[in-house]
């Protein structure tokens, strides 16, 4: 009898590693993207430190150095396009929270198109800007900062591509845990948008 009791007790006992702790305040996916964003802020911080070192500590006679000029107007229009894309992805998420699948698809497609337009205009700007990354420290830091951001936009577009395909396949639902595949890229996209606002004001305006 005693051995049977012991066997039942062992069967009820959990084998293998303990269950991972799950916070009741934040789900793992959202915590993961937030920690990733914190690391990205530090990466951008390093590039901004280089920028301000070149601009303030090295202190060239003019900024941008003659004869270079930055296309402030075109970049401003590009900024408006990227900011608009944050509104469209927010619209997509609000739509799926209400169970509106059509709105989700519309918002995601609009966001993807606006992001792709931003990237296209930035590449076009590189082609016509008249200096390269090899032209002084200014050229290096300009291409480094805007290129780093452009790479993030590209990654965001990839995430949005997957989310859009999944949306058209009907993978998402109104409950919070049923649309994490849009929520997480949405948070990343907002981060990319905020970083561009900082890059634009710092590099093109100040």
């Amino acid at each position: 009898m005693e051995s049977a009791t012991v066997t039942v007790g062992h069967a009820e006992h959990h084998h293998g590693p303990p269950e991972a702790n799950q916070s009741s305040r934040i789900d793992r996916q959202t915590l993961g993207i937030l920690l990733f964003i914190v690391s990205e802020v530090m990466l951008f911080g390093a590039f901004f430190a280089s920028y301000f070192f070149l601009r303030v500590v090295v202190d060239p006679p003019s900024w941008p150095p003659e004869p270079y000029h930055l296309p402030v107007g075109v970049a401003g229009m590009n900024t408006a396009i990227l900011v608009s894309s944050s509104f469209t992805i927010h619209y997509a998420l609000e739509a799926i929270r209400r169970g509106n699948h059509k709105g989700l698809k519309l918002g995601l497609v609009a966001t993807w198109l606006l992001g792709a337009t931003f990237l296209f205009i930035q590449i076009n700007e590189y082609v016509h800007i008249g200096f390269s990354a090899r032209d002084l420290g200014f050229g290096s830091i300009f291409y480094s900062l805007t290129g780093l951001h452009g790479a993030h936009v590209f990654v965001g577009l990839m995430l949005l591509t997957f989310a859009t395909i999944r949306a058209f396949r009907g993978h998402f639902g109104p409950k919070a845990e049923d649309h994490l595949g849009v929520e997480v890229p949405g948070i990343y996209w907002h981060f990319v948008d905020i970083m561009w606002l900082v890059v634009y004001v710092t590099v093109y305006i100040l």
């Binding site: 907002h190 948008d193 606002l197 305006i205």
Partner: protein, 58 residues
Amino acid sequence: MRLNEAAVFKWVVIVGLAAALVVAVTLLTRPLVGSLLGLVIVIAGCVYAYRWARERWS
């Protein structure tokens, strides 16, 4: 409170308005004035973000 996309979207609007203010002041005055305003906004934003994060986490 829950940390989600809607909470982060609020920050896009806040940073967007702050950036618009810095751009307007810089274009109307001098880059130095815009830079100082930007610095003040960044410091104020950091304090607000710290309080906001604590509120979200408690």
